[in-house]
């Protein structure tokens, strides 16, 4: 079974990386202007519609119920638990990126929160001022110089660049604490991260609803918000993808409102 799991993973990665290499045609300027490469838009829109149905019927009600009925400290605690279980993966990715500071912080957090923090249910690391450690395989690919690739809308997940889609699939199947189809007890990491996502969906219900159900084109809104946020996360401050976003509305070619 493990073998099958790995071959599914390998096949997915192969398909997705095939997409990556085929389409690395976007210029830095285009990316900085918030432009995107979405050649599979019609398919993506169908998947988006499916995700919306799923959200409305199951995920949204379950999430609002979760944060509505379960007391806040327990929800927070379970989120800490999920984040703690993801730490070994974060450490591995940080090492792969050569980011030993984040790796060290992640390791320290995992050791402290797993022990002092009672199996990760509490977050004493934050009280000890250990910086948060958060990264993923998508970021590792970014650090390695892999391009974004075309947009894909992942079922059950949402918009992603191909590079991030590879990262998400890789993280999901390789984290020793996240996924195992044969020994259900091993899936605790998966359930925990599901609860973490439900907490987010529930706590930011209004904002997410406004994007998904109140906008004129929820696909276009989700896509541009995801893309800008992800580029910001990866490039940080003032690096490519952010600096040029400060284009000047006052120099807009469409005319000067102060001309009158």
């Amino acid at each position: 079974m493990r073998l099958m799991q790995r071959s599914v993973f390998a096949a997915t990665v192969l398909i997705l990386t095939g997409m990556l290499s085929a389409c690395a045609t976007q210029s830095v300027e285009q990316r900085a202007a918030g432009e995107f490469f979405d050649p599979f838009e019609p398919t993506n829109r169908k998947v988006h519609a499916f995700n919306k149905v799923l959200d409305k019927a199951i995920f949204r009600p379950a999430s609002t119920g979760y944060v509505g009925f379960i007391p806040e400290p327990i929800v927070t605690s379970l989120t800490h638990f999920a984040v703690n279980l993801s730490m070994p993966g974060v450490v591995v990715d940080a090492v792969l990126q050569g980011d030993f500071k984040t790796a060290g912080n992640g390791l320290a957090r995992f050791l402290i929160n797993s022990t002092v923090g009672i199996a990760g249910l509490a977050d004493p690391s934050t009280d000890f001022n250990i910086p948060r450690a958060d990264t993923d395989f998508g970021e590792t690919l970014y650090v390695w110089g892999v391009g974004e690739g075309p947009m894909v809308e992942l079922p059950f997940y949402g918009p992603a660049t191909t590079r991030d889609a590879v990262g998400i699939v890789a993280d999901f199947f390789t984290s020793p604490l996240t996924f195992s189809p044969v020994r259900p007890v091993d899936n605790i990491g998966f359930y925990a991260s599901l609860l973490e996502r439900m907490a987010d969906r529930g706590n930011f219900s209004d904002t997410i609803d406004s994007i998904l159900y109140e906008s004129a084109d929820s696909y276009a809104q989700a896509r541009i918000i995801y893309l800008q946020n992800r580029r910001f996360e990866l490039a940080g401050d003032g690096v490519d993808g952010y600096g040029d976003l400060y284009d000047d509305p006052y120099a807009d070619i469409y005319g000067d409102p102060y001309a009158e």
Partner: protein, 219 residues
């Protein structure tokens, strides 16, 4: 007569001399500069500096917090937010940017009513979001000069959440120091709204008046 011409002569000569340009220019500039100098204190006050740019954001945040703490009903709060939006933001330039290419074919009247509708729409959309800020705070962290004015970076601290970055872009190109764009964790508000307004127009076959009417309904 003679004395008169002699006394006048040097002045006449001076004005004819090649250096007269220098002289006249001096006169001209001092004549122009005089009122400018007189008004310098007020000019210095109006011009945007690093300090006044971050102060503007601080005052904006303070005023938003006051509205949130007022405990008024949501529609009343949205009305208050609209007043703050007009006071602190350069609404005309934001509206024009959000309309994008379609702004070129909009008449002056359409532009005016779009700006008004946009102002209500933004106030209600973002005002309702501010509820999530209850009990939170926004701290100005740094300010730096950018081409159009200043970039004011702040950190939002909300209960039980990782701190996140909110950046304001401030300019005095409207004649007054006002913010004209905002980034929340890298998400450019103007760019996102341009996408949304564009989608609304597409849905209405590019009809600007219909879009404005519907925008008013949302707000």
């Amino acid at each position: 007569m003679v004395t008169c011409t002699t006394t006048l002569m040097p002045i006449y000569m001076v004005t004819l001399m090649p250096s007269n340009f220098k002289f006249r220019r001096l006169l001209l500039t001092s004549a122009m500069v005089a009122p400018l100098v007189a008004s310098l204190p007020s000019l210095a006050f109006a011009a945007l500096t690093k300090a006044t740019a971050s102060e503007l954001v601080n005052r904006l945040v303070g005023d938003i917090n006051k509205v949130i703490a007022s405990g008024k009903s949501e529609p009343a709060m949205v009305r208050d937010f609209e007043k703050l939006f007009i006071k602190y933001a350069d609404v005309p330039i934001m509206a024009r940017y959000a309309l994008g290419v379609d702004g070129r074919r909009a008449s002056k009247g359409q532009m005016r009513s779009f700006t008004k509708a946009f102002q209500g729409y933004i106030s209600s959309k973002y005002g309702r979001r501010f509820r999530e800020f209850i009990g939170g705070s926004l701290e100005v962290k740094s300010t730096r000069k950018i081409k159009t004015g200043f970039e004011v970076k702040s950190i939002a601290l909300l209960k039980g959440q990782a701190p996140f970055e909110v950046t304001f872009l401030v300019s005095d190109k409207s004649g007054k120091g006002k913010f004209y764009n905002m980034f929340i964790e890298g998400v450019n508000m103007l760019l996102t709204e341009r996408t949304e307004i564009g989608a609304m127009l597409d849905r209405r076959g590019g009809n600007i008046d219909k879009m404005i009417a519907d925008l008013k309904k949302i707000a």
